[in-house]
């Protein structure tokens, strides 16, 4: 068995990887859905709850000071991780979905009117589509779809072409919302170029970085994007925590999101005034323990090294692409070239339903996802209802990919006689 140096270095940090599933060692290949947690993240939760737990911001006693410090230092380290110059641009949410809803509700709804357009792409996750549909319906705006490159089998599958964008960028466009990495095709989109083109026409850009943040360096200052959203649980951090980065100019245009404790300045009987950003957007007791866990996760990722992670993922992806090429009954979606994509690979085994494939793989301890992966528009475009998806994390090994391909033989045996 071939062990990649990175994976073998980090595997011991992840307690869950010691599990056996149906008498096989767990091969966890569903990292696009959620990643596993290293000990340092679990320990940071444990440490918070057993040593510092208290509510933040409003207490003068020692524990409250400590919790507030953990919370605000978390904000700072997250800002640093994504290249934001000021932690005031970091809003904590529950996850990518809530981050995007926050923008749709606190910003877009107040800035859209009948006839306005929002550009989205055909490869967006429902979480980067439905909030815009809701904002559009409330305001009379409409969604415009930036199509992906056509024809399965052509050399450029599942890419976004900038010439197409050029055509779509009309005066009525008020926002462009695009994912940095497709959670199905694995496509890595040219975000910097996209932002540049949109900004030339004064159009703000929201980047869905849910899949990107664990796989490549993110630099919001360099990208100059207006909004960027991601989830803690997809970058080796805990559930229940997400991040919205918003530029100062956009923050200033935003109305409050939810109302309640912590986001107010003064409360009157019929109306109130708001705290400054980012508190203005963080009503209620925040997920303090989760922020501590996320900060630990990002520190872990930095220690491992984002460029190491990219290299590792590229190797795994290249290996998987080679293996796919061996089988004519496997249809792989998305770019075939490691330059255009990352380690999220969706496919179908001809004449076998994805559920059945995933079930058979599970019988050999291999965890992959089957379904539409919250991308019904994309799957419609691909002409299938569902697909099987494998997606890599820093602990995955080439041997696990090989186990998957062997187990596909079992699926063939069972379902195709």
């Amino acid at each position: 068995m071939q062990h990649h140096p990175l994976a073998s270095k980090v595997r011991d940090d992840f307690p869950i990887l010691k599990r056996e599933i149906n008498d096989f060692p767990l091969a966890y290949l569903d990292n696009a859905a959620t990643t596993q947690k290293p000990n340092c993240v679990i320990d940071s939760l444990l440490d918070f709850y057993s040593t510092h737990n208290s509510n933040v911001s409003r207490g003068v006693y020692t524990l409250a000071e400590e919790a507030t410090e953990i919370y605000e230092e978390g904000r700072e380290s997250i800002a640093k991780f994504i290249g934001a110059t000021d932690s005031g641009n970091i809003i904590f949410t529950r996850g990518t979905t809530e981050s995007i809803n926050l923008v749709a509700s606190a910003w877009a709804q107040h800035n859209l009117k009948t006839g306005d357009r929002i550009i989205v792409t055909e490869m967006e996750h429902h979480s980067n589509l439905v909030p815009w549909q809701m904002a559009a319906q409330a305001s009379g705006a409409e969604l415009v779809y930036w199509p992906i490159t056509p024809e399965a089998g052509s050399t450029s599958v599942g890419l976004l072409e900038l010439e197409e964008l050029e055509e779509l960028l009309t005066d009525s466009v008020k926002l462009l919302a695009v994912t940095a990495v497709s959670n199905v095709l694995g496509t890595v989109n040219p975000i910097a170029k996209i932002v540049e083109m949109a900004h030339e026409r004064g159009i703000p850009v929201l980047v869905d970085a849910a899949q990107a943040v664990a796989r490549m360096p993110i630099d919001v200052s360099g990208l100059d994007c207006d909004f960027l959203a991601f989830s803690g649980h997809k970058v080796y951090g805990p559930t229940g925590i997400g991040v919205l980065y918003a530029k100062k100019e956009r923050l200033d245009e935003m109305q409050p999101f939810q109302g309640g404790g912590g986001m107010i300045r003064q409360v009157g009987r019929q109306s109130s005034t708001w705290a400054d950003s980012p508190q203005k957007f963080e009503a209620g007791t925040p997920p303090v323990a989760e922020v501590s866990g996320l900060a630990a996760a990002l520190e872990y990722v930095s220690d491992v090294g984002i460029s190491e992670i990219q290299k590792h993922e590229k190797e795994l992806t290249a290996h998987a692409l080679n293996r796919f090429a061996e089988f004519s009954d496997l249809e792989l979606y998305g770019p075939q070239d490691t330059c255009d994509r990352t380690g999220v690979l969706s496919f179908n085994l001809r004449n076998v339903h994805p559920h059945d494939v995933a079930q058979v793989l599970d019988e050999s301890g291999i965890a992959v996802r089957a379904g539409h992966h919250c991308t019904q528009i994309l799957h419609e475009r691909l002409g299938v209802a569902a697909s099987v998806r494998m997606s890599f994390g820093i602990y995955n090994e080439v041997s696990e990919i090989d186990r998957l391909f062997s187990s596909l033989d079992r699926a063939r045996d069972i379902f195709l006689d």
């Binding site: 559920h355 019988e363 069972i414």
Partner: protein, 142 residues
């Protein structure tokens, strides 16, 4: 590498060669069911004589368990009354609950499905055809 599979012969037989697959051209009742988690769809068409189901077809876009379940259901419901099969559907539902242990004799023939109930994510696959059936029965009542 060999493991026990949840996919047993009877189930696979139904999945590979589903009974009463397709659509009736002039059904008395018709319903579809949809699984939002995976996008699977099923359409059930029924022909009645009086209260009795005398013909049925299912058109399935779904996994082997969904197809097998539809096929087994079709065999089961033919020549039974709507109220009978509604009762069966409820019993089947109940037997799929985590805390139910005994399977009533009436639905003994559905055991190959019920045996899969530890796989909670597949319950919806097994139920899709029956959900459409319940929908048909509800239409008939109103």
């Amino acid at each position: 590498m060999s493991t026990n599979s949840i996919y047993r012969d009877l189930l696979l037989d139904h999945a590979r060669h589903p009974k009463y697959s397709g659509c009736l051209e002039h059904p008395d009742l018709k319903a579809s069911a949809f699984n939002p988690l995976c996008g699977d769809e099923l359409e059930l068409t029924l022909a009645l004589s009086g209260e009795t189901i005398h013909d049925c077809r299912t058109q399935v876009r779904g996994c082997s368990i969904c197809i097998a379940s539809a096929s087994m259901m079709s065999e089961f419901i033919l020549e039974r009354t709507l109220s009978e099969v509604l009762q069966i559907s409820k019993e089947f539902s109940k037997s799929l609950r985590k805390d139910t242990e005994d399977i009533p004799e009436t639905i003994e023939s559905l055991r190959p499905l019920i045996d899969l109930k530890p796989h909670r994510s597949r319950i919806k696959c097994m139920r899709l055809a029956w959900d459409a059936l319940e929908d048909c029965a509800a239409q008939h009542q109103t």
